[in-house]
């Protein structure tokens, strides 16, 4: 039976190297490009066609998606401040969702099952929140490390605790998405391996489970994209409101 983790392995398809840095093209990069093309293409299709007062099928799907993100941004960042970050959060949501869904197409690759990818996202978001915080509040931003209303004696204890809890955020953000996608696809691979290695009179059962789990995976693709963007909104909202 094939190793269920086999399909996460990446092998370079085209060897490239620029100044000693290995930038070989592999399956994950191609999946990412496809994701970019799909997102960009669909949005450009709507934008070029011109938005109608009575939306067509495609337009209403995208309107629902953007309204959904708008609700999230309004709730966690605030109606006025949220406008500046809406485009970033919306592109993040739609890109992650597309990448999750592309991974469910047989033969393609789940880009979000690489911790390098999710880690790059979450570290970028973390640095962004720091920049937003310092830009908005200046050095007063450091007071995020001291929760309001604590006695002075506790400050030396609270500062390291707050630093750890702040650093744990990008870590758990990236691990959550990566682990969910990896686990789901591993389960699919194990069940499918069972279906392939068993004889037909019992093999239909794990095969049926793969079909059901595939449906579950579609739900997880949506839920994880939603959680990732919600937490991004929460983190941005935290540094804007500062307690």
């Amino acid at each position: 039976m094939e190793n269920p983790l086999h399909h996460f392995e990446l092998h370079p398809l085209i060897h490239l190297s620029v100044m000693g840095v290995d930038i070989s093209i592999n399956k994950a990069i191609i999946a990412m490009w496809i994701g970019l093309v799909v997102v960009f293409g669909l949005f450009m299709l709507i934008a070029n066609r011109g938005t109608q007062m009575v939306p067509g099928k495609l337009q209403s799907v995208f309107e629902i998606a953007l309204e959904f993100v708008k609700g999230m941004v309004d709730e966690f960042i605030g109606k006025e401040d949220g406008k500046r970050y809406f485009s970033f959060v919306a592109s993040l949501f739609i890109f992650i969702l597309t990448c999750n869904l592309i991974g469910l197409v047989p033969g393609s690759y789940t880009m979000t099952s690489q911790i390098a990818v999710t880690g790059a996202f979450s570290v970028g978001i973390f640095l962004m929140t720091l920049v937003i915080g310092f830009a908005r509040h200046g050095l007063h931003f450091m007071s995020i490390l001291v929760p309001p209303g604590i006695p002075k004696v506790m400050i030396p204890f609270m500062v390291p605790i707050e630093i750890i809890s702040m650093l744990a955020r990008p870590l758990s953000l990236s691990v959550r998405l990566f682990a969910n996608m990896t686990a789901g696809h591993t389960v699919l691979a194990v069940l499918f391996g069972l279906a392939m290695s068993a004889s037909l009179w019992i093999g239909w059962m794990p095969f049926g489970f793969t079909v059901i789990i595939n449906g579950l995976e579609i739900a997880i693709a949506f839920i994880q994209a939603y959680i990732f963007t919600t937490l991004t909104c929460v983190y941005i909202g935290d540094v804007i409101k500062l307690h």
């Binding site: 605790i161 750890i164 809890s165 744990a168 870590l171 758990s172």
Partner: protein, 69 residues
């Protein structure tokens, strides 16, 4: 929560490694990390309760209005 504890442990281990304060760094790091994890859970619970209370109040007010009508 687990992530915060792990991160605290790693940071404590790092401090031990560079300053040669073994085993104090990792011991304090684990405790601090656990506290940070607890703090995160506490904050999440607090924000959730606020939301539930807000929803309750709204639905209560809505019901009140219905009764008045």
């Amino acid at each position: 929560m687990t992530v915060a504890t792990g991160l605290g442990a790693v940071m404590g281990y790092g401090i031990d490694y560079y300053f040669g304060t073994s085993p104090w760094g990792i011991a304090i790091g684990v405790v601090m990390g656990g506290a940070a994890g607890m703090l995160n859970v506490y904050r999440a619970a607090q924000s959730m309760t606020e939301e539930i209370e807000k929803n309750d109040r709204e639905s209560y007010n809505a019901k009140d209005k219905e009764d008045q009508n």
